[in-house]
Symmetry: C2
């Protein structure tokens, strides 16, 4: 690998980590806006999404340039391909944070719900998964990536619990139905963020360990089904 | 372009269209299973997801092989990169169809809801968007891709309508709350499928028209923020 190419890859990693950092901030601020009924903070999350969208384009362009100019093979090629995929996932996570912020904004205009739900824990766990999946990617760490895949179950459980608690709450007081469904969707957005982190982590395992999870796949496009 | 490379690209397109076709079938079958309360059909959708997951791996491998061996540049490089992204989106659409099928399976075991919701129209529209986004990709048709982006608003509206109708239904009869929230999530799954199709379409516009939507993006990774 030439020194220039090494520098370019380092720059790509730096950009990726920066995007990851912005996305993490968006997640925590959106939940803070929800819990504190803070419209201004919610609007900040919505406004900051432009930065994330722009970085997505920068990273995509950097990847395409590297593919065209350096024509990488083997692990370098897989790494750049994984970054391109991760890039799309991170942008999507940014969108989900915006969805949460929009619901936070709406709910702040409505009477407060008297229900105690542990969104902070769910958010912190989800955020951790995003950070870990990214660390796994830039450090090509399959072990950490596999850990993220397992953690997804925790968030799924938390989402299921929220779902059940909110259904009970709605049944007890049908006046809260609309507001409760918004909270249900916030929980679902967090669960989807965890899914996106899991997607990144799965790509990392695949990138590092190659064909292990590819099982008789070649048949599927050649044998008519 | 060598004849061999042309053939390989044609094969890649074929694979992509095949995957798109499987995904379209999954979408329509999942909604049919929901409406007909057909557990067997729902299970068929869930089982068929393995095929979609396998094709995703095949397409990814084909793309990586083409990048490594043919070292494409310009439009060919962007096309292969777009296929890799689209591949992930299609796989995710398959997962959403599975989510719908799982809800269909659960709801079939519950008393039927007496509410008329036009899931067929929403499903057909969403399915059309998936097909069009894929056609736009393989034919490098930015005009069709832009049409898909506009169509997303229709599905968003349909989802919002469903949401409001279901909230009313729950308020009128709190006994239906749990079942109604499942239907609400089915509507949301369809809306997300439309989002994924829109993502594909946006990538096509970007692939065909290049840097038009990239606006001062380069600043974002160099200026500290």
């Amino acid at each position: 690998m030439t020194k220039r190419f090494e520098e370019e890859l380092a720059e790509l990693k730096k950009c990726t980590l920066k995007m990851g950092n912005l996305v993490e901030i968006a997640i925590s601020k959106s939940i803070k806006a929800l819990l504190d009924r803070d419209v201004k903070l919610a609007e900040e999350v919505i406004g900051a999404d432009d930065d994330i969208n722009h970085i997505e384009i920068v990273i995509d362009e950097k990847c395409l340039d590297l593919l065209a100019l350096r024509q990488p093979v083997a692990i370098d090629l897989r790494f750049i391909a994984a970054i391109m995929k991760m890039n799309g996932e991170l942008e999507r996570i940014g969108d989900l944070a915006v969805n949460i912020a929009e619901r936070a904004k709406y709910l702040a205009t409505q009477p407060e719900l008297k229900i105690s739900l542990d969104f902070t824990r769910m958010m912190e766990f989800t955020q951790k998964m995003v950070r870990e999946s990214l660390d796994a990617l830039v450090n090509k760490d399959a072990k950490l990536a596999r850990k993220v895949c397992l953690e997804d179950d925790v968030v799924d459980d938390l989402n299921r619990q929220m779902f059940l608690e909110l259904i009970e709450h709605m049944k007890e007081d049908p006046e809260t139905i609309e507001r409760s469904t918004h909270l249900m969707l916030v929980s679902r957005h967090l669960e989807r963020i965890a899914d996106q982190a899991t997607n990144i982590a799965e790509d990392v395992v695949y990138m590092v360990e190659g064909k292990i999870i590819k099982h008789h796949a070649e048949d599927y496009c050649t044998i008519p089904r």
